[in-house]
Every structure is written in structure tokens, then in C-alpha cells.
């Protein structure tokens, strides 16, 4: 963001989980790192893809198994469960209220802020093909769809690497 720091210290995050609490944790670290002028890349894989799914389009996928999976696993930043005490949606509703009382940004706000700070979002190609999803199913903030090798080529040059 600012300053004369010559050496950039990149951060890479693998977001494997699709729960609200874990996604918030990933985005807190990502936005804090971006504010420190560290280049941040998030690799969204498997359930983590739910975090960056666009709203709408209930039936996605090519075969009945993919369609069934995507109906039961709709995703989108506003629709995520939490990893403990979900209580059929009561848990996330209460958590969201408690977080907004403390002025913690919502997940969609975190996604926007992270993007504005230059955080790169990479959806995982292999998970997408298993689930029958295409790039159009994800928010516009996403960069290229990449595979494990490309992810590792970014991660090996980074100073901090998290798996959430």
C-alpha cells in the first residue's frame, strides 16, 4: 500500500473449508496482510469454492450427481453454515448479528475489500470439474482458474502459507 519496503513478502492461503467462520478467518488474515503491502493469493478448493460462488442458478452441473451435489451445496458468501453450533441456520444468524454489533465486516464486504486491496482469488480447476462448475459460476473478482502445480508455483515463493 505504502512505504519504501523493497522486498515483498507474499502470503498464500488455501481455503479448503466452506464454513462462514473459517472463511472470515481467512479473509481477516488476507486483508491484514494486504494492508501490510504483502501480495496475497487465495486458492479456493473443494468446499472453499462455496465462498466465492455467485448467487442464483440452483441447478448446476452436467450429470445428476453433480446437480444433486450443487442443489444440496448451493454456496454463496451469504449462505454459509458455521463449523460449530450451526443449529440449522440459527448459529450463523446469531454470529452475523454479533459480528455486526462489533463492526466486523460481513463476508461479502470482506471479499470486496480484499479484492480492492489487490488480493488474488484463484478457483481450483480440479474441484470445479468434479462438481461440474464453470468460471461463470464464481464471482467476477476471481482470477484465472488454476491447478495444484500453478498454486504451488505461487506458494513456493511466499513467506506465509496457510491451509484453512
Amino acid at each position: 500500500m505504502s512505504g519504501n519496503v523493497s522486498k515483498k513478502e507474499p502470503v498464500t492461503i488455501v481455503l479448503f473449508s466452506g464454513e462462514l467462520d473459517k472463511a472470515i478467518a481467512a479473509f481477516v488474515v488476507a486483508t491484514a496482510a494486504a494492508s501490510m503491502d504483502m501480495p496475497v493469493s487465495i486458492f479456493f478448493t473443494f468446499w472453499g469454492l462455496n465462498v466465492i460462488k455467485k448467487d442464483g442458478g440452483l441447478i448446476k452441473g452436467r450429470n445428476w450427481m453433480q446437480k444433486m451435489l450443487n442443489v444440496m451445496n448451493r454456496g454463496h458468501a451469504r449462505r454459509l453454515a458455521i463449523s460449530k453450533m450451526n443449529m440449522m441456520g440459527m448459529g450463523p444468524a446469531m454470529l452475523k448479528t454479533m459480528m455486526s454489533q462489533k463492526c466486523v465486516p460481513s463476508l461479502p464486504e470482506f471479499i470486496k475489500t480484499a479484492h480492492a486491496l489487490g488480493v488474488k482469488f484463484y478457483p481450483c480447476e480440479m474441484s470445479m470439474s468434479v462438481m461440474g462448475l464453470g468460471k461463470a459460476d464464481f464471482v467476477d473478482e476471481c482470477e484465472d482458474v488454476i491447478g495444484a502445480v500453478t498454486y504451488l508455483s505461487i506458494a513456493k515463493g511466499s513467506n506465509v502459507n496457510l491451509f484453512i
Binding site: 500500500m1 505504502s2 512505504g3 519504501n4 481477516v28 486483508t31 491484514a32 494492508s35 501490510m36 503491502d37
Partner: protein
């Protein structure tokens, strides 16, 4: 009153980790090297985090003033 000549003031009261650092970074983007920003925060984490943030981004911490649970942090853009 403060002893620093301020070029910009950022009211980050009510915000919590990591937003004060994020807002400070965004505010400094539009400023010139050597200019001074005042950041107001009531977040106890940011009182510790903003000086660390300044150090790791090459900006200079000029001072911290605290009155009635409001912390004013003065940074010079590096």
C-alpha cells in the same frame, strides 16, 4: 491538542481488527511521502497493531496519545 502538524485525519473508531490497518493503508495511498496522518481508534488491538503495521510497511510512528479510551496514533508516510 497535539504537537503534530496533521495532513489527514482518519476516524477508525468503532472498527475492529483488521479494518483500522486496512483503512490506514488505503488512506496513506493518496498521501505524499513525509505527510502525517492521525488515526483515531477505540480498538485495543489496533493500539498495538498499528505501530507494528507502520514498522513493517516502512512508515514512521511519531507518537501515540490516549484520552478517554480513544487512542490517537500519528504516522508519517515513509
Amino acid at each position: 491538542m497535539t504537537q503534530y502538524a496533521i495532513d489527514k485525519s482518519l476516524d477508525a473508531r468503532g472498527l475492529c481488527c483488521p479494518m483500522p490497518s486496512v483503512k490506514t493503508a488505503l488512506a496513506l495511498e493518496g498521501m505524499k511521502t513525509g505527510q502525517v496522518i492521525e488515526v483515531l481508534t477505540d480498538d485495543p488491538v489496533s493500539k498495538k497493531d498499528l505501530p507494528v503495521w507502520a514498522r513493517s510497511t516502512g512508515n514512521h510512528l511519531l507518537g501515540i496519545e490516549e484520552t478517554d479510551n480513544i487512542v490517537r496514533i500519528y504516522l508519517r508516510k515513509g
